[in-house]
Protein backbone atom coordinates (compact mmCIF):
# COMPACT_ATOMS: atom_id res chain seq x y z
CA UNK A 1 0.00 0.00 0.00
CA UNK A 2 1.68 3.15 -1.11
CA UNK A 3 -0.82 5.60 0.31
CA UNK A 4 0.81 7.27 3.29
CA UNK A 5 -0.74 6.04 6.52
CA UNK A 6 -2.89 8.29 8.69
CA UNK A 7 -0.85 9.00 11.78
CA UNK A 8 -2.49 7.27 14.70
CA UNK A 9 -2.57 9.33 17.92
CA UNK A 10 0.31 8.22 20.12
CA UNK A 11 2.14 6.48 17.26
CA UNK A 12 5.89 6.67 17.42
CA UNK A 13 8.09 8.47 14.91
CA UNK A 14 11.43 6.74 15.16
CA UNK A 15 14.38 8.48 13.66
CA UNK A 16 17.89 9.81 14.04
CA UNK A 17 19.29 13.08 15.27
CA UNK A 18 22.70 13.75 13.79
CA UNK A 19 25.02 16.28 15.34
CA UNK A 20 27.02 18.09 12.67
CA UNK A 21 28.99 19.82 15.42
CA UNK A 22 30.55 16.67 16.80
CA UNK A 23 30.61 14.40 13.74
CA UNK A 24 34.28 13.86 12.95
CA UNK A 25 33.70 12.29 9.54
CA UNK A 26 35.30 8.95 10.44
CA UNK A 27 32.82 6.89 8.36
CA UNK A 28 32.46 4.37 11.20
CA UNK A 29 28.66 4.62 10.99
CA UNK A 30 28.72 3.83 7.28
CA UNK A 31 31.08 0.91 7.83
CA UNK A 32 29.08 -0.57 10.69
CA UNK A 33 25.86 -0.07 8.72
CA UNK A 34 27.38 -1.93 5.81
CA UNK A 35 28.65 -4.67 8.10
CA UNK A 36 25.36 -5.17 9.93
CA UNK A 37 23.18 -5.06 6.85
CA UNK A 38 25.44 -7.31 4.79
CA UNK A 39 26.21 -9.78 7.53
CA UNK A 40 22.72 -11.20 7.81
CA UNK A 41 21.45 -14.21 5.93
CA UNK A 42 20.00 -12.11 3.12
CA UNK A 43 23.30 -10.36 2.42
CA UNK A 44 21.38 -7.43 1.08
CA UNK A 45 24.05 -4.81 0.47
CA UNK A 46 25.89 -5.91 -2.66
CA UNK A 47 29.27 -4.76 -3.88
CA UNK A 48 30.47 -4.71 -7.46
CA UNK A 49 34.09 -4.88 -8.63
CA UNK A 50 35.10 -5.25 -4.98
CA UNK A 51 38.83 -5.57 -5.52
CA UNK A 52 38.99 -3.98 -8.98
CA UNK A 53 39.82 -0.45 -10.08
CA UNK A 54 36.21 0.83 -9.81
CA UNK A 55 34.79 -0.56 -6.57
CA UNK A 56 31.13 0.28 -6.12
CA UNK A 57 28.17 -0.94 -4.15
CA UNK A 58 25.04 -0.11 -2.20
CA UNK A 59 25.41 1.96 0.96
CA UNK A 60 22.58 3.13 3.18
CA UNK A 61 24.75 5.80 4.64
CA UNK A 62 27.27 8.01 2.87
CA UNK A 63 29.45 10.57 4.60
CA UNK A 64 30.28 13.86 2.91
CA UNK A 65 32.86 16.35 4.12
CA UNK A 66 32.51 20.04 3.37
CA UNK A 67 34.45 23.22 4.03
CA UNK A 68 32.38 26.12 5.26
CA UNK A 69 33.04 29.84 5.54
CA UNK A 70 31.08 32.32 7.62
CA UNK A 71 30.46 33.51 11.15
CA UNK A 72 34.07 34.61 11.28
CA UNK A 73 35.67 31.22 10.81
CA UNK A 74 36.30 28.42 8.37
CA UNK A 75 35.64 24.88 9.41
CA UNK A 76 35.09 21.35 8.21
CA UNK A 77 31.54 20.06 8.46
CA UNK A 78 30.91 16.34 8.00
CA UNK A 79 27.44 15.32 6.89
CA UNK A 80 26.28 11.70 7.10
CA UNK A 81 23.48 11.25 4.55
CA UNK A 82 20.90 8.48 4.84
CA UNK A 83 17.14 7.96 4.63
CA UNK A 84 15.30 10.56 6.72
CA UNK A 85 12.07 8.52 7.02
CA UNK A 86 9.98 11.49 5.86
CA UNK A 87 6.39 12.12 6.90
CA UNK A 88 5.52 13.11 3.33
CA UNK A 89 7.61 10.44 1.69
CA UNK A 90 7.18 10.88 -2.06
CA UNK A 91 9.26 7.72 -2.56
CA UNK A 92 6.35 5.78 -1.07
CA UNK A 93 3.48 7.36 -2.97
CA UNK A 94 5.15 7.12 -6.40
CA UNK A 95 5.73 3.37 -6.03
CA UNK A 96 3.48 1.56 -8.54
CA UNK A 97 3.58 -1.84 -6.86
CA UNK A 98 3.08 -1.23 -3.16
CA UNK A 99 6.64 -2.40 -2.44
CA UNK A 100 7.50 0.92 -0.81
CA UNK A 101 5.63 1.62 2.37
CA UNK A 102 5.67 3.64 5.57
CA UNK A 103 4.88 1.80 8.79
CA UNK A 104 1.93 3.13 10.77
CA UNK A 105 3.30 2.21 14.18
CA UNK A 106 6.71 3.92 13.99
CA UNK A 107 6.96 5.78 10.67
CA UNK A 108 9.83 3.70 9.33
CA UNK A 109 9.95 3.68 5.51
CA UNK A 110 10.73 0.25 4.09
CA UNK A 111 10.90 -1.63 0.78
CA UNK A 112 9.26 -5.02 0.40
CA UNK A 113 11.87 -6.48 -1.92
CA UNK A 114 9.57 -9.36 -2.89
CA UNK A 115 7.25 -6.86 -4.59
CA UNK A 116 9.76 -4.34 -5.98
CA UNK A 117 10.04 -4.34 -9.78
CA UNK A 118 13.15 -2.14 -9.85
CA UNK A 119 11.56 0.74 -11.79
CA UNK A 120 13.69 3.12 -9.69
CA UNK A 121 11.06 5.86 -9.65
CA UNK A 122 11.39 6.07 -5.85
CA UNK A 123 15.07 6.98 -6.20
CA UNK A 124 14.05 9.85 -8.49
CA UNK A 125 11.43 10.98 -5.97
CA UNK A 126 13.88 11.18 -3.06
CA UNK A 127 15.65 14.57 -2.83
CA UNK A 128 18.20 13.17 -0.39
CA UNK A 129 19.57 10.44 -2.66
CA UNK A 130 18.80 7.84 -0.02
CA UNK A 131 17.60 5.00 -2.22
CA UNK A 132 19.97 2.89 -4.26
CA UNK A 133 19.44 0.08 -6.74
CA UNK A 134 20.76 -3.36 -5.89
CA UNK A 135 22.11 -4.15 -9.34
CA UNK A 136 22.46 -7.83 -8.48
CA UNK A 137 18.94 -8.48 -7.17
CA UNK A 138 17.25 -5.80 -9.31
CA UNK A 139 15.42 -4.22 -6.38
CA UNK A 140 15.73 -1.00 -4.41
CA UNK A 141 17.54 -0.87 -1.09
CA UNK A 142 17.34 1.70 1.66
CA UNK A 143 18.03 2.33 5.32
CA UNK A 144 15.72 0.24 7.52
CA UNK A 145 16.65 2.11 10.68
CA UNK A 146 18.03 -1.33 11.63
CA UNK A 147 14.53 -2.61 12.22
CA UNK A 148 16.07 -6.02 12.89
CA UNK A 149 18.09 -4.59 15.79
CA UNK A 150 15.79 -2.08 17.43
CA UNK A 151 13.01 -4.61 18.01
CA UNK A 152 15.22 -7.66 18.67
CA UNK A 153 14.37 -8.85 22.16
CA UNK A 154 17.35 -11.19 22.18
CA UNK A 155 19.61 -8.15 22.33
CA UNK A 156 20.21 -6.39 25.65
CA UNK A 157 17.99 -3.26 25.74
CA UNK A 158 21.00 -0.94 25.51
CA UNK A 159 21.96 -2.48 22.17
CA UNK A 160 18.54 -2.07 20.59
CA UNK A 161 19.58 0.87 18.47
CA UNK A 162 20.67 1.23 14.84
CA UNK A 163 24.18 0.01 14.01
CA UNK A 164 25.28 3.50 12.97
CA UNK A 165 24.25 4.94 16.35
CA UNK A 166 25.81 2.12 18.33
CA UNK A 167 29.17 2.55 16.68
CA UNK A 168 29.57 6.33 16.52
CA UNK A 169 32.76 7.12 18.48
CA UNK A 170 31.94 10.79 18.93
CA UNK A 171 28.31 10.25 19.96
CA UNK A 172 27.17 12.38 17.06
CA UNK A 173 24.24 10.09 16.27
CA UNK A 174 21.17 9.71 18.44
CA UNK A 175 18.18 7.43 18.03
CA UNK A 176 14.72 7.84 19.50
CA UNK A 177 11.08 8.76 19.18
CA UNK A 178 10.71 12.20 17.63
CA UNK A 179 6.94 12.21 18.12
CA UNK A 180 7.42 12.29 21.90
CA UNK A 181 8.31 15.87 22.90
CA UNK A 182 9.92 14.61 26.12
CA UNK A 183 12.22 12.05 24.49
CA UNK A 184 15.96 12.66 24.65
CA UNK A 185 16.16 13.19 20.91
CA UNK A 186 13.29 15.71 20.88
CA UNK A 187 14.92 17.60 23.75
CA UNK A 188 18.20 17.64 21.88
CA UNK A 189 16.51 19.02 18.77
CA UNK A 190 14.85 21.70 20.88
CA UNK A 191 18.01 22.73 22.74
CA UNK A 192 20.27 22.80 19.74
CA UNK A 193 17.86 24.11 17.11
CA UNK A 194 17.76 20.94 15.05
CA UNK A 195 16.79 21.45 11.41
CA UNK A 196 15.22 19.60 8.49
CA UNK A 197 17.40 19.14 5.43
CA UNK A 198 15.89 20.77 2.31
CA UNK A 199 12.94 21.90 4.40
CA UNK A 200 11.63 23.98 1.49
CA UNK A 201 10.72 20.87 -0.51
CA UNK A 202 8.15 19.90 2.12
CA UNK A 203 8.99 16.22 2.72
CA UNK A 204 8.88 16.78 6.50
CA UNK A 205 11.77 14.45 7.30
CA UNK A 206 11.79 12.68 10.67
CA UNK A 207 15.58 12.74 11.03
CA UNK A 208 16.95 16.03 12.27
CA UNK A 209 20.40 17.59 11.94
CA UNK A 210 21.97 19.72 14.65
CA UNK A 211 23.87 22.58 12.99
CA UNK A 212 27.50 23.19 13.88
CA UNK A 213 27.79 25.56 16.85
CA UNK A 214 29.68 28.83 16.74
CA UNK A 215 33.22 28.52 18.00
CA UNK A 216 33.14 29.81 21.61
CA UNK A 217 36.89 29.89 22.21
CA UNK A 218 38.11 33.28 20.98
CA UNK A 219 41.12 32.90 18.76
CA UNK A 220 43.40 35.87 18.04
CA UNK A 221 44.54 36.27 14.43
CA UNK A 222 48.08 35.04 13.91
CA UNK A 223 50.53 38.01 13.87
CA UNK A 224 52.99 38.15 11.03
CA UNK A 225 56.65 37.87 12.21
CA UNK A 226 58.05 41.26 13.27
CA UNK A 227 60.14 43.02 10.64
CA UNK A 228 63.83 43.50 11.26
CA UNK A 229 63.38 46.85 13.00
CA UNK A 230 65.33 50.10 12.74
CA UNK A 231 68.61 51.47 13.99
CA UNK A 232 72.28 50.50 13.79
CA UNK A 233 71.73 47.03 15.29
CA UNK A 234 69.18 46.06 12.68
CA UNK A 235 71.44 47.41 9.90
CA UNK A 236 74.36 45.31 11.16
CA UNK A 237 72.13 42.22 11.38
CA UNK A 238 70.96 42.92 7.83
CA UNK A 239 74.58 43.06 6.59
CA UNK A 240 75.36 39.83 8.45
CA UNK A 241 72.29 38.16 6.90
CA UNK A 242 73.36 39.23 3.42
CA UNK A 243 76.92 37.99 3.96
CA UNK A 244 75.75 34.63 5.28
CA UNK A 245 73.17 34.21 2.55
CA UNK A 246 75.78 34.60 -0.20
Amino acid sequence: MTMLPERAPGAKRLGLVIDLDTCVGCHACAVNCKEWNTGGEAGILPDYDKYGPEPDGVWFNRIHSYETDGQGCSRTVNVPRSCLHCEDALCVTVCPTGASYKRVQDGIVLVDTDKCIGCQLCSWACPYGARELDEKAGVMRKCTLCIDRIYDEHLPPAEREPACVATCPSRARHFGDLADPDSKVSQLVKERGGVDLLAGLGYRPTNKYLPPRRATIPTAPVKPPAPGGKGIGAALLGLLDKALSR
Binding site: M1, T2, M3, L4, L20, G25, H27, E54, D56, G57, V58, W59, R62, I63, H64, Y66, E67, T68, D69, G70, Q71, T76, V77, V79, R81, L90, V92, V94, C95, P96, T97, G98, A99, C116, I117, G118, C119, Q120, L121, S123, W124, A125, C126, P127, G129, E132, L133, E135, G138, V139, V195, D196, L197, L198, A199, G200, L201, G202, Y209, P211
Partner: protein, 313 residues
Protein backbone atom coordinates in the same frame (compact mmCIF):
# COMPACT_ATOMS: atom_id res chain seq x y z
CA UNK B 1 18.99 12.80 -15.13
CA UNK B 2 20.31 9.86 -17.11
CA UNK B 3 18.37 9.49 -20.38
CA UNK B 4 17.53 5.77 -20.54
CA UNK B 5 16.69 4.50 -24.04
CA UNK B 6 13.75 2.48 -22.71
CA UNK B 7 12.03 5.55 -21.27
CA UNK B 8 12.75 7.73 -24.32
CA UNK B 9 11.21 5.11 -26.62
CA UNK B 10 8.27 4.60 -24.24
CA UNK B 11 7.21 8.23 -24.06
CA UNK B 12 7.87 9.03 -27.72
CA UNK B 13 6.19 5.93 -29.19
CA UNK B 14 3.15 6.08 -26.90
CA UNK B 15 2.92 9.77 -27.80
CA UNK B 16 2.63 8.85 -31.50
CA UNK B 17 0.23 5.98 -30.85
CA UNK B 18 -2.12 7.62 -28.38
CA UNK B 19 -1.87 10.90 -30.27
CA UNK B 20 -3.07 9.18 -33.44
CA UNK B 21 -5.89 7.47 -31.54
CA UNK B 22 -6.89 10.84 -30.09
CA UNK B 23 -7.18 12.30 -33.61
CA UNK B 24 -9.25 9.35 -34.83
CA UNK B 25 -11.50 9.78 -31.80
CA UNK B 26 -11.76 13.53 -32.29
CA UNK B 27 -12.57 13.15 -36.00
CA UNK B 28 -15.27 10.68 -35.16
CA UNK B 29 -16.79 12.86 -32.43
CA UNK B 30 -16.83 15.85 -34.76
CA UNK B 31 -18.45 13.76 -37.48
CA UNK B 32 -15.54 14.28 -39.87
CA UNK B 33 -15.28 10.58 -40.67
CA UNK B 34 -17.47 9.55 -43.60
CA UNK B 35 -18.88 6.01 -43.76
CA UNK B 36 -16.27 4.93 -46.31
CA UNK B 37 -13.48 5.77 -43.86
CA UNK B 38 -13.76 2.37 -42.18
CA UNK B 39 -10.38 1.28 -43.61
CA UNK B 40 -8.82 4.49 -42.33
CA UNK B 41 -10.29 3.93 -38.87
CA UNK B 42 -9.30 0.26 -38.71
CA UNK B 43 -5.79 0.90 -40.00
CA UNK B 44 -5.47 3.96 -37.78
CA UNK B 45 -6.48 2.15 -34.61
CA UNK B 46 -4.19 -0.77 -35.51
CA UNK B 47 -1.27 1.61 -36.12
CA UNK B 48 -1.90 3.52 -32.92
CA UNK B 49 -2.00 0.35 -30.83
CA UNK B 50 1.14 -0.88 -32.59
CA UNK B 51 3.01 2.30 -31.62
CA UNK B 52 1.61 2.20 -28.08
CA UNK B 53 2.55 -1.47 -27.69
CA UNK B 54 6.05 -0.79 -28.95
CA UNK B 55 6.43 1.99 -26.38
CA UNK B 56 4.98 -0.02 -23.52
CA UNK B 57 7.15 -2.97 -24.54
CA UNK B 58 10.23 -0.74 -24.48
CA UNK B 59 9.32 0.45 -21.00
CA UNK B 60 9.59 -3.15 -19.77
CA UNK B 61 13.32 -2.91 -20.38
CA UNK B 62 13.47 -0.20 -17.75
CA UNK B 63 12.30 -2.67 -15.11
CA UNK B 64 14.88 -4.76 -13.30
CA UNK B 65 12.31 -7.43 -12.41
CA UNK B 66 10.06 -7.71 -15.48
CA UNK B 67 8.30 -10.82 -14.21
CA UNK B 68 6.71 -8.74 -11.46
CA UNK B 69 5.44 -5.98 -13.80
CA UNK B 70 1.80 -6.98 -13.18
CA UNK B 71 2.14 -5.60 -9.67
CA UNK B 72 2.44 -2.10 -11.14
CA UNK B 73 -1.31 -1.99 -11.79
CA UNK B 74 -2.12 -2.05 -8.08
CA UNK B 75 -1.26 1.41 -6.71
CA UNK B 76 -3.33 3.66 -8.97
CA UNK B 77 -4.63 5.53 -5.94
CA UNK B 78 -1.28 7.21 -5.28
CA UNK B 79 1.14 6.48 -8.12
CA UNK B 80 1.07 8.12 -11.55
CA UNK B 81 3.19 5.26 -12.91
CA UNK B 82 0.53 2.82 -11.80
CA UNK B 83 -2.21 5.04 -13.26
CA UNK B 84 -0.33 5.16 -16.56
CA UNK B 85 -0.33 1.37 -16.69
CA UNK B 86 -4.02 1.10 -15.85
CA UNK B 87 -4.99 3.84 -18.33
CA UNK B 88 -2.90 2.30 -21.11
CA UNK B 89 -4.45 -1.12 -20.64
CA UNK B 90 -7.98 0.35 -20.50
CA UNK B 91 -7.37 2.22 -23.77
CA UNK B 92 -6.94 -1.00 -25.78
CA UNK B 93 -10.47 -2.45 -25.47
CA UNK B 94 -12.00 0.99 -26.00
CA UNK B 95 -9.95 1.54 -29.17
CA UNK B 96 -10.70 -1.93 -30.52
CA UNK B 97 -14.43 -1.54 -29.82
CA UNK B 98 -14.38 1.84 -31.57
CA UNK B 99 -12.76 0.37 -34.68
CA UNK B 100 -15.05 -2.68 -34.66
CA UNK B 101 -18.29 -0.71 -34.37
CA UNK B 102 -17.16 1.77 -37.02
CA UNK B 103 -16.19 -1.09 -39.34
CA UNK B 104 -19.59 -2.71 -38.98
CA UNK B 105 -21.94 0.25 -38.77
CA UNK B 106 -20.04 3.35 -39.91
CA UNK B 107 -20.36 6.68 -38.08
CA UNK B 108 -23.36 5.73 -35.94
CA UNK B 109 -23.88 7.24 -32.51
CA UNK B 110 -22.21 4.26 -30.80
CA UNK B 111 -19.12 4.61 -32.96
CA UNK B 112 -18.98 8.30 -32.18
CA UNK B 113 -19.37 7.70 -28.44
CA UNK B 114 -16.64 5.06 -28.51
CA UNK B 115 -14.50 7.51 -30.47
CA UNK B 116 -15.00 10.05 -27.70
CA UNK B 117 -14.03 7.41 -25.13
CA UNK B 118 -10.90 6.55 -27.15
CA UNK B 119 -10.01 10.25 -27.29
CA UNK B 120 -10.34 10.59 -23.51
CA UNK B 121 -8.55 7.33 -22.72
CA UNK B 122 -5.61 7.99 -25.02
CA UNK B 123 -5.00 11.55 -23.88
CA UNK B 124 -5.61 10.43 -20.29
CA UNK B 125 -2.81 7.90 -20.64
CA UNK B 126 -0.45 10.53 -22.03
CA UNK B 127 -1.39 12.81 -19.13
CA UNK B 128 -0.56 10.06 -16.61
CA UNK B 129 2.83 9.56 -18.28
CA UNK B 130 3.53 13.27 -18.07
CA UNK B 131 2.47 13.43 -14.43
CA UNK B 132 5.05 10.76 -13.52
CA UNK B 133 7.65 13.41 -14.30
CA UNK B 134 5.68 16.48 -13.30
CA UNK B 135 5.07 15.10 -9.80
CA UNK B 136 8.77 14.67 -8.96
CA UNK B 137 9.56 17.59 -6.68
CA UNK B 138 13.36 17.10 -6.59
CA UNK B 139 13.64 17.84 -10.33
CA UNK B 140 12.84 21.48 -11.07
CA UNK B 141 12.91 21.04 -14.86
CA UNK B 142 10.07 18.50 -14.59
CA UNK B 143 8.07 19.67 -11.59
CA UNK B 144 6.40 22.65 -13.29
CA UNK B 145 3.26 23.56 -15.19
CA UNK B 146 4.90 23.01 -18.60
CA UNK B 147 5.50 19.26 -18.35
CA UNK B 148 1.95 17.89 -18.53
CA UNK B 149 0.80 20.40 -21.17
CA UNK B 150 3.90 19.74 -23.27
CA UNK B 151 3.54 15.96 -23.24
CA UNK B 152 -0.08 16.32 -24.37
CA UNK B 153 0.91 18.79 -27.09
CA UNK B 154 3.71 16.60 -28.44
CA UNK B 155 1.42 13.57 -28.47
CA UNK B 156 -1.25 15.54 -30.34
CA UNK B 157 1.39 16.84 -32.75
CA UNK B 158 3.01 13.46 -33.47
CA UNK B 159 -0.44 11.87 -33.79
CA UNK B 160 -1.44 14.57 -36.28
CA UNK B 161 1.47 13.94 -38.66
CA UNK B 162 0.85 10.21 -38.42
CA UNK B 163 -2.85 10.72 -39.10
CA UNK B 164 -2.07 12.84 -42.18
CA UNK B 165 0.14 10.03 -43.52
CA UNK B 166 -2.55 7.39 -43.01
CA UNK B 167 -5.12 9.69 -44.58
CA UNK B 168 -2.86 10.02 -47.61
CA UNK B 169 -2.29 6.28 -47.78
CA UNK B 170 -6.02 5.68 -47.73
CA UNK B 171 -7.31 8.52 -49.91
CA UNK B 172 -4.25 9.77 -51.80
CA UNK B 173 -4.14 13.15 -50.04
CA UNK B 174 -4.03 14.23 -46.41
CA UNK B 175 -7.02 16.51 -46.81
CA UNK B 176 -7.09 20.15 -45.85
CA UNK B 177 -8.24 19.57 -42.28
CA UNK B 178 -5.65 16.94 -41.40
CA UNK B 179 -2.73 18.82 -42.91
CA UNK B 180 -3.83 22.11 -41.39
CA UNK B 181 -4.16 20.37 -38.02
CA UNK B 182 -0.68 18.84 -38.34
CA UNK B 183 0.86 22.17 -39.32
CA UNK B 184 -0.89 24.02 -36.52
CA UNK B 185 0.09 21.36 -33.95
CA UNK B 186 3.70 21.58 -35.11
CA UNK B 187 3.67 25.35 -34.72
CA UNK B 188 2.12 25.23 -31.26
CA UNK B 189 4.53 22.48 -30.17
CA UNK B 190 7.47 24.58 -31.34
CA UNK B 191 6.27 27.59 -29.37
CA UNK B 192 5.65 25.40 -26.28
CA UNK B 193 9.16 23.91 -26.43
CA UNK B 194 10.74 27.35 -26.63
CA UNK B 195 8.62 28.55 -23.73
CA UNK B 196 9.70 25.49 -21.70
CA UNK B 197 13.37 26.17 -22.33
CA UNK B 198 12.94 29.83 -21.43
CA UNK B 199 11.24 28.72 -18.23
CA UNK B 200 13.91 26.25 -17.10
CA UNK B 201 16.72 28.62 -18.05
CA UNK B 202 15.24 31.29 -15.76
CA UNK B 203 14.72 28.94 -12.79
CA UNK B 204 16.96 29.12 -9.77
CA UNK B 205 18.35 25.90 -8.26
CA UNK B 206 16.16 24.28 -5.57
CA UNK B 207 18.96 24.48 -3.02
CA UNK B 208 22.50 25.53 -2.40
CA UNK B 209 24.94 23.20 -0.74
CA UNK B 210 24.58 25.22 2.47
CA UNK B 211 20.78 24.96 2.57
CA UNK B 212 20.93 21.28 1.60
CA UNK B 213 22.95 20.49 4.71
CA UNK B 214 20.91 22.83 6.91
CA UNK B 215 23.55 25.42 7.69
CA UNK B 216 22.43 28.73 9.21
CA UNK B 217 22.15 31.75 6.90
CA UNK B 218 25.38 33.48 5.97
CA UNK B 219 27.50 30.34 5.86
CA UNK B 220 28.79 29.00 2.57
CA UNK B 221 29.89 25.47 1.91
CA UNK B 222 32.02 23.73 -0.69
CA UNK B 223 32.81 20.04 -1.11
CA UNK B 224 35.97 18.78 0.52
CA UNK B 225 35.76 14.99 0.41
CA UNK B 226 33.17 12.84 -1.37
CA UNK B 227 31.93 9.71 0.42
CA UNK B 228 33.61 7.42 -2.10
CA UNK B 229 36.36 7.68 -4.68
CA UNK B 230 34.31 6.15 -7.49
CA UNK B 231 30.97 6.97 -9.09
CA UNK B 232 27.92 5.38 -7.52
CA UNK B 233 24.30 4.70 -8.38
CA UNK B 234 23.11 8.13 -7.29
CA UNK B 235 25.70 9.92 -9.42
CA UNK B 236 25.07 7.74 -12.46
CA UNK B 237 21.29 8.30 -12.26
CA UNK B 238 20.98 11.83 -10.89
CA UNK B 239 24.38 13.34 -11.58
CA UNK B 240 24.11 13.10 -15.37
CA UNK B 241 25.13 16.44 -16.86
CA UNK B 242 25.26 17.74 -20.40
CA UNK B 243 27.66 20.44 -21.57
CA UNK B 244 25.87 23.75 -22.09
CA UNK B 245 27.24 24.27 -25.60
CA UNK B 246 26.03 20.81 -26.66
CA UNK B 247 22.58 21.54 -25.27
CA UNK B 248 22.34 24.74 -27.29
CA UNK B 249 23.15 22.88 -30.53
CA UNK B 250 20.77 20.03 -29.77
CA UNK B 251 17.96 22.45 -28.96
CA UNK B 252 18.37 24.03 -32.41
CA UNK B 253 18.24 20.61 -34.06
CA UNK B 254 15.05 19.77 -32.15
CA UNK B 255 13.36 23.00 -33.23
CA UNK B 256 14.29 22.57 -36.89
CA UNK B 257 13.96 18.79 -37.36
CA UNK B 258 11.28 18.07 -34.79
CA UNK B 259 8.91 20.96 -35.35
CA UNK B 260 9.81 23.40 -38.19
CA UNK B 261 10.35 20.75 -40.90
CA UNK B 262 7.12 18.83 -40.09
CA UNK B 263 5.32 22.19 -40.13
CA UNK B 264 6.57 23.04 -43.62
CA UNK B 265 6.12 19.47 -44.90
CA UNK B 266 2.54 19.38 -43.62
CA UNK B 267 1.73 22.60 -45.45
CA UNK B 268 3.28 21.19 -48.66
CA UNK B 269 1.25 18.01 -48.21
CA UNK B 270 -1.89 20.12 -47.72
CA UNK B 271 -1.13 21.78 -51.07
CA UNK B 272 -1.03 18.22 -52.51
CA UNK B 273 2.65 18.51 -53.34
CA UNK B 274 3.87 14.90 -53.41
CA UNK B 275 1.66 14.21 -50.37
CA UNK B 276 2.88 10.65 -49.80
CA UNK B 277 6.51 11.74 -49.63
CA UNK B 278 5.93 14.91 -47.64
CA UNK B 279 3.66 13.31 -45.02
CA UNK B 280 6.01 10.35 -44.55
CA UNK B 281 8.99 12.69 -44.24
CA UNK B 282 7.04 14.75 -41.69
CA UNK B 283 6.52 11.63 -39.56
CA UNK B 284 10.20 10.70 -39.82
CA UNK B 285 11.32 14.21 -38.88
CA UNK B 286 8.87 14.38 -35.97
CA UNK B 287 10.07 10.97 -34.74
CA UNK B 288 13.75 11.89 -34.80
CA UNK B 289 13.10 15.37 -33.40
CA UNK B 290 10.89 14.16 -30.57
CA UNK B 291 13.33 11.41 -29.57
CA UNK B 292 16.04 14.04 -29.36
CA UNK B 293 13.65 16.37 -27.53
CA UNK B 294 12.93 13.62 -24.98
CA UNK B 295 16.66 12.94 -24.62
CA UNK B 296 17.20 16.61 -23.79
CA UNK B 297 14.22 16.57 -21.39
CA UNK B 298 16.20 14.05 -19.35
CA UNK B 299 19.74 15.25 -19.99
CA UNK B 300 18.96 18.84 -19.01
CA UNK B 301 17.02 17.84 -15.90
CA UNK B 302 18.96 18.11 -12.67
CA UNK B 303 18.17 16.30 -9.44
CA UNK B 304 18.54 18.16 -6.17
CA UNK B 305 20.38 15.24 -4.51
CA UNK B 306 23.39 15.86 -6.78
CA UNK B 307 24.03 19.04 -4.80
CA UNK B 308 25.48 16.91 -1.98
CA UNK B 309 28.24 15.97 -4.40
CA UNK B 310 28.83 19.60 -5.34
CA UNK B 311 27.31 19.15 -8.80
CA UNK B 312 25.39 21.84 -10.62
CA UNK B 313 21.65 21.47 -10.03
Amino acid sequence: MRPAASVLLLTTATGFGFGLLAWLGAYSVLGLLPGHARVLVAAGVATSLLFASFGLGASMFHLERKERAWRAFSQWRSSWLSREGVAAVLTYPVAIAFAAVFWRDGPVIWARLLGAAALVASLGTVYCTAMIYASLKPIRQWHNRHTAADYLLYAVFSGAVLFATLHTLDLGAPGATASAAAAAAAGIALIAKRAYWRHIDAQTPLATLATAIGLPKGIEARPLDAPHFTENYILRQMGFAIARRHAVKLRRIVLVVGFALPLVLSILAGLTLAPMTTTTLAVACAGIGLLLERWLFFAEATHVSAVYYGRRI
